[in-house]
């Protein structure tokens, strides 16, 4: 297999806070191929956003730091680059992001044209006001903003929610990056707008060889866009595999529990299978399997040692001492 677009090796990102060191990302390995969408799912606080911010090196300045690991993109380790290099050559140029709440991702006091044109200016892809404008129009057209040349001088608040979101996507793909990280791009949206976003993502992926990491806690959204899905729990990836494998034959008890805990359209008034308990604190996570406390298959071994990753099938990896199908 050829070199993947992105390879993250043993990434550890810690947040140094007054109340302690939050081990937000604690040994994450993953890879994304060109033209592929990797879904990153997991519950709130499991470190999904921190993983993506680590890749872009956009961690909270005061507290966040990558303490270990490598982030290879096209053979370059981003973890070793200087801040200037990151800004100049990487962010927006080769690796780009749509952040957690696209509705607030546009600066309210600058025009849309200014903001969409900005990446071209930063990376010297267009010179002069007119060229930048033209480039902005082009990319807005790509995300299906109607008559973009007329809307460049409008402010974000004059756009509807769905359109704002497409503008953000336009900014992110303006310089034709190789990798796009989309952090919950649909979470705060109504169903009807959500589908429009899903359509846009599928299209982007089809048209260019863009690799996408889609972060979400909505298993439905992940299922509708991704080719592969990684499940994160308490700072670690517990299971990763092809989308069908994950949904049809999940091997990690957490993945299984998650799928059981959500109601599915068409199935009514059956009791949901709740997952008891809470996720562990990331300040001092348990030494063993982090899901052990809530797991139905827990053994003494689970508490003693973190399970190694095993590859059950090609590309299907699980970190569990007792992986396998659900006990009926």
């Amino acid at each position: 297999m050829s070199q993947p677009l992105l390879r993250v090796e043993n990434l550890r990102t810690h947040l140094f806070l007054k109340r302690g060191v939050v081990k937000a990302v604690d040994g994450v390995n993953l890879h994304v191929d060109a033209g592929e969408t990797l879904g990153l799912v997991g519950e709130s606080g499991s470190g999904k956003s921190m993983t993506s911010l680590s890749i872009l090196r956009l961690l909270p300045r005061q507290s966040g730091r990558i303490v270990e690991g490598h982030i290879w993109v096209d053979g370059v380790d981003l973890a070793s680059l200087s801040e200037e290099e990151m800004a100049r050559d990487w962010r927006g140029r080769r690796v780009s992001m749509v952040s957690q709440d696209p509705m607030t991702s546009l600066n309210p006091v600058f025009t849309v044209g200014d903001q969409v044109g900005a990446p071209f200016r930063y990376h010297g892809l267009a010179h002069g006001a007119r060229a930048v404008r033209e480039a902005a129009v082009k990319v807005l057209r790509r995300v299906r903003i109607p008559s973009p040349e007329k809307r460049l001088d409008d402010y974000p608040h004059q756009f509807s929610g769905g359109m704002r979101q497409r503008v953000v996507a336009a900014m992110a793909i303006a310089c034709a990056p190789r990798l796009l990280i989309a952090d919950e791009p649909t979470s705060n949206l109504d169903v009807t707008i959500q589908v429009q976003m899903i359509a846009l993502f599928r299209e982007l992926q089809r048209d260019s060889g863009l690799g996408i990491i889609l972060i979400t806690h909505d298993l439905g959204v992940a299922a509708s866009i991704c080719q592969r899905v990684a499940v994160m729990y308490a700072g670690r990836i517990v299971e990763v595999g092809d989308v069908r494998t994950i949904y049809r034959s999940p091997a990690h008890p957490y993945t299984q529990a998650l799928l059981n805990a959500i109601p599915h359209l068409g199935q009514r008034r059956r009791r949901l299978h709740a997952i008891a308990g809470q996720p562990p604190s990331l300040i001092d996570p348990p030494v063993g399997c982090r899901f052990a406390a809530r797991c139905s298959r827990r053994t003494a071994q689970c508490d003693a040692e973190y399970p190694p990753e095993v590859e059950l099938a090609s590309g299907h990896k699980v970190a569990c001492w007792r992986p396998g199908p659900e006990a009926a």
Binding site: A87, R91, R93, M97, T104, V109, Y122, A172, A174
Partner: protein
């Protein structure tokens, strides 16, 4: 927009009328101006006549209506002390006070914006501490003390700046510092906290994510957002500067309204006090209105139809 302006002007008028009532009645409480106007030896008949001529024999509320009516036509009466219409006495000095207040405000902004921005960007670092300390000093020192120290050091000590007077740009520097230092701390705090919020915002992160340099992000994209809360209350700070001018003008022999009003209070020269206070009120109300309106230039989200 028009509706909004009308509404704001209406509110402003209410404030001004209210201020005029307050100042009229409070000043009347302090005694009979006749005592100061006529020689003690004036015969009672003359006293009575002058009293009638001046309308002081009417009941207070009528006096107020007369006063308000005259004030509407720009007639605040003649100063009891200075042989001149009270309004012109104050109006002649108003530009100097406005100039001083604006310069002080400018000084405070020139200081607080960079301080606020830098201490947000380098939060917790020595820059933050230093900026905060320096800004707070202004809040902890009475402005007349600052003024005196400035004169002592910059004028007498080093002969760098003129100690008093009005005219060249050099003249404004010390008064503006003395007056403008006080609000620096509060303004810095506003800019800093707004900046912290803005720097944490999604759109700034988005800017970073598409490759903006820190310089562009901070000074172009973040600053405008962070300035909004500052701009919102500039009107209030302007009023604070007008008030502070009362003291600073005395120190620097600045020919503004402040000194005139202070002395008018001492000599119970009510026409001048009333004209002075009312004019400052009008100035304050107008400046607030202007700030509110110009606010829309900075923040396009503001619509004036609400």
């Amino acid at each position: 927009m028009l509706l909004y302006i009308l509404k704001r002007v209406g509110q402003g008028l209410i404030s001004i009328v209210g201020a005029s009532i307050v100042i009229f009645f409070v000043s009347r409480l302090s005694g009979d101006p006749i005592v100061l106007l006529l020689p003690t030896e004036a015969p009672p008949a003359v006293v009575e006549q002058v009293r009638r001529d001046m309308g002081l024999a009417e009941p207070l509320w009528r006096q107020y209506l007369i006063f308000a009516g005259n004030a509407l036509t720009g007639d605040f009466g003649n100063s009891y002390r200075w042989q001149a219409p009270a309004l012109s006495l104050v109006l002649d000095r108003l530009p100097a006070t406005i100039y001083l207040a604006l310069a002080a405000l400018l000084f405070s902004i020139l200081l607080s914006v960079p301080f606020g921005v830098l201490s947000a960007v380098y939060r917790g670092s020595w820059i933050d501490t230093l900026g905060k300390g320096f800004a707070m000093l202004g809040q902890a020192m009475p402005n007349f003390w600052v003024g005196l120290l400035l004169i002592l050091v910059l004028a007498i000590g080093f002969n760098l700046l003129p100690a008093y007077g009005y005219g060249t740009p050099a003249h404004i520097i010390m008064p503006a510092i003395a007056l403008g230092w006080y609000p620096v701390a509060a303004q810095t705090r506003i800019v800093r906290s707004a900046m912290l919020d803005v720097l944490d915002s999604d759109y700034i992160r988005m800017g970073r994510a598409v490759g903006a340099s820190e310089r562009v992000l901070i000074w172009k994209y973040a600053l405008r957002n962070a300035a909004i809360p500052l701009v919102t209350i500039l009107g209030v700070y302007f009023a604070a500067m007008l008030g502070g001018a009362f003291v600073v003008e005395t120190i620097f022999a600045w020919p503004g309204v402040g000194r005139t009003v202070v002395e008018a209070v001492f000599s119970r020269d009510f026409p001048v006090v009333q004209a002075g206070v009312l004019l400052t009120s009008i100035l304050f109300v107008t400046s607030n209105l202007l700030v509110d309106l110009s606010y829309g230039l900075i923040d396009p989200r503001i619509r004036y139809d609400r």
